[in-house]
């Protein structure tokens, strides 16, 4: 078992009791909820006559179903409207703070937690959403849960859990110019596999993460789950504290100094022990894109797609399925197939820095004919910031649509969906079959700069061509 890691320290400080099953009863410091995975949980509370145990430790927003062309009510989609009403009713009845449109703080749950400073080092964080791993960027233990567990957290502020193992994923060296955190995590998943992380929390360490900003760390931690790791984290450091300082929910004055001392103490010890260690060379990572139907099926932008026969046994069948679905061929590169849709957004890459990088590529250029390109900021605050910087104009002048905040075509529960077998370049996190709303739709995952470049070119291309 790992010893002396941040994971161990956070876990140990949050165990409230031992359960008869042998599991630990883990206190959850921050619980985030959204409209899709919470209504059934609140119904279960009602059925059992239970209250929310710590209503000031749960925060709600709405992101998955919201339309991004307008936030006007009622929503055109009756089911979405019903879902919206359910979260309004539930948060009101149970006294849970709700960041709805009117607060100016609505957005994707994993974007608003950090931007408000709710996410703080050393916490346990749970949310009925697998990308809760995002919050690990701050040195938290953060993981996704199912709806029955949402019920448990609401009713008790606790979860019944078994500990995870800890793998240190060390990426040393320096990233090349135009290589982004998205490329780093795609390279990690490709190296370790989509099931390599099952049973593990990933500790991301090494020079590449030390140099990386908080937004990049969030992008990396976000996709831990795509590598099978339910949680991933980066040890908190000055970059973390600088990001948190002055945010609306972070401590001030004397409390800030105490918080800082506590946060520093939670980082992994020098001599910490790990269940496993892997090393990846940062300088070798290239701009990446996925070509298949799992986030592990990726290549560098100019690399030829693999021959299934050349892959290890377990990956062959999945590669064959991927080729059938994607209509791509071994030996070709990603740039050979024309694009229909370009989507910039999601909890992976819908932050202000992501929009700045995409705008850098798009500035003064035009989206290729026939490509539907759109930008969906991750939160209302990101949207306002981008507009203050004039990024919305850069995008619209280039031919991108500029939208309201939400998850949008990351999972297509709102009206933004692929049609037929459209091919999309997407800055989101999942290229699963059907993920973007059409059973035959096809998704290529890449960084926001790469999506913007693909939109301009009408096919995948090396974004570095446009970055100088």
């Amino acid at each position: 078992m790992a010893k002396g890691t941040l994971y161990n320290k956070v876990w140990d400080s949050h165990v409230a009791a031992k359960l008869p099953t042998g599991q630990s009863q883990l206190f959850i410091g921050l619980h985030l909820i959204h409209e899709v995975t919470s209504p059934q949980a609140f119904d279960m509370l009602r059925e059992r006559g239970l209250k929310v145990a710590y209503p000031t430790r749960t925060f709600a927003t709405m992101d998955h179903i919201v339309p991004t062309t307008s936030q006007g009510r009622p929503f055109a989609d009756a089911q979405a409207e019903l879902m919206m009403q359910a979260i309004e009713r539930n948060t009101k009845e149970f006294g849970v703070p709700f960041f709805n449109f009117a607060t100016g703080r609505q957005g994707i749950v994993h974007i608003i937690g950090p931007e408000m400073g709710l996410t703080q080092p050393g916490m346990t964080i749970a949310c009925g959403d697998s990308h809760t791993s995002t919050h690990g960027a701050f040195g938290t233990l953060a993981f996704g849960i199912g709806t029955s567990q949402v019920r448990d957290v609401l009713a008790t502020q606790c979860l019944a859990m078994d500990p995870m193992k800890v793998r240190r994923v060390q990426v040393d060296g320096k990233l090349g110019a135009g290589v982004y955190p998205k490329d780093v995590i795609l390279a990690i998943i490709r190296a370790l596999g989509v099931e390599g992380g099952i049973g593990y929390a990933y500790e991301y360490a090494g020079k590449v993460f030390e140099d990386m900003g908080m937004e990049g760390r969030m992008t990396v931690c976000n996709m831990s789950i795509e590598g099978g790791a339910r949680a991933g984290y980066v040890n908190p450091d000055d970059t973390t504290f600088d990001y948190l300082k002055g945010r609306e929910q972070t401590p001030r004055g004397a409390a800030w100094d105490k918080a800082l001392a506590h946060w520093r103490s939670m980082a992994s010890d020098q001599g910490a022990e790990y269940d496993d260690r892997v090393e990846i060379k940062g300088s070798e990572i290239q701009p990446m894109g996925t070509w298949g139907v799992t986030p592990g099926q990726s290549v560098a932008v100019d690399e030829k797609l693999p021959d299934p026969a050349s892959l290890p046994g377990g990956q062959r069948q999945s590669a064959e399925l991927a080729y059938r679905h994607m209509g791509l061929k071994p030996g070709q590169t990603l740039s050979e197939t024309p694009l229909d849709v370009a989507f910039i957004g999601s909890c992976t890459n819908g932050r202000i820095g992501d929009l700045r990088e995409a705008a850098r590529v798009a500035r003064g250029r035009k989206v290729a004919k026939g490509v539907h390109a759109f930008v969906v900021p991750g939160s209302q605050q990101v949207r306002r910031q981008a507009m203050d910087e004039g990024l919305d104009k850069v995008f619209t002048e280039a031919g991108f649509e500029w939208r309201e905040a939400g998850c949008s075509m990351c999972l297509a529960m709102n009206p933004d969906k692929l049609k037929g077998n459209q091919l999309s370049a997407s800055s989101s996190n999942r290229n699963f079959i059907g993920r973007q709303g059409s059973p035959n739709g096809r998704t290529l995952l890449m960084s926001p700069a790469m999506v913007a470049a693909a939109a301009l070119e009408g096919r995948v291309t090396d974004a570095r061509r446009f970055l100088n």
Binding site: G22, L50, S148, C158, K258
Partner: protein, 202 residues
């Protein structure tokens, strides 16, 4: 709250081969717009079972010979992706009460246990044999036994695994964990009081 002990699950089996079958494939996101789980049993593998016109596509869940199956035999990393509990809800409400596979995504496996559906693992070779046997003889009766930790049927028996705490929770009937957690209110309050952020870092 539930006192239903889960010890043995018996019934016919349906094989669904393939690695990394994600929860978007198990239940497409558009069905997550319903605010109750009531209808989920109609949707498992929806887009793999039906084309755009509602016509049947070849899928084990469409084959009459597997109708009424209570066990599901799958391969590696089953249930990866989204944390949606709708996925195990859909399988359970369709009729699945135990799943045998090479490996499961963590959140999915946890969600299954919370519903009283044991996810148990065995190696790739055994899974292949199980899937073949269920395919060759869909009428065969299988039993997942959480006491002996075996899956047996068609004259064969294979050892299976699951984390001990989950096994205990199922055997003791405490897989619905709310009651267990509620019992420790005082310890929870004490733990909260020790956490610096719970007292505003005062």
């Amino acid at each position: 709250m539930s006192d239903s002990k889960i010890v043995k699950i018996s019934g016919r089996a349906v094989p669904v081969p393939g690695d990394a079958i994600d929860t978007d494939r198990i239940i497409p996101a558009r069905y997550l717009k319903e605010i109750t789980f009531t209808n989920m049993g109609e949707y498992p593998f929806f887009d793999e079972r039906f084309d755009a016109q509602g016509g049947l596509k070849p899928h084990p869940f469409n084959e009459p010979r597997y109708k009424g199956a209570r066990l599901l035999f799958v391969n590696a990393n089953f249930g990866c992706g989204s944390s949606r509990e709708h996925a195990p809800q859909a399988l359970m409400r369709w009729g699945i009460h135990a799943i045998v596979g090479e490996s499961f995504a963590e959140i999915f496996a946890g969600n299954c246990v919370m519903l009283g559906v044991p996810p148990v693992t065995t190696d790739a070779y055994n899974v292949k044999k199980l899937q073949q046997a269920a395919h060759d003889n869909p009428q065969a009766e299988w039993t997942v036994d959480l006491e002996s930790m075996t899956v047996s049927g068609a004259g064969e028996s294979f050892a299976v695994k699951m984390p001990e705490s989950r096994r205990r929770a199922l055997l003791a009937g405490t897989w619905d964990s709310t009651a267990l957690l509620l019992a420790n209110r005082d310890q929870v309050a004490a733990a909260a009081a020790r956490l610096p952020y719970m007292t505003g870092y005062a």
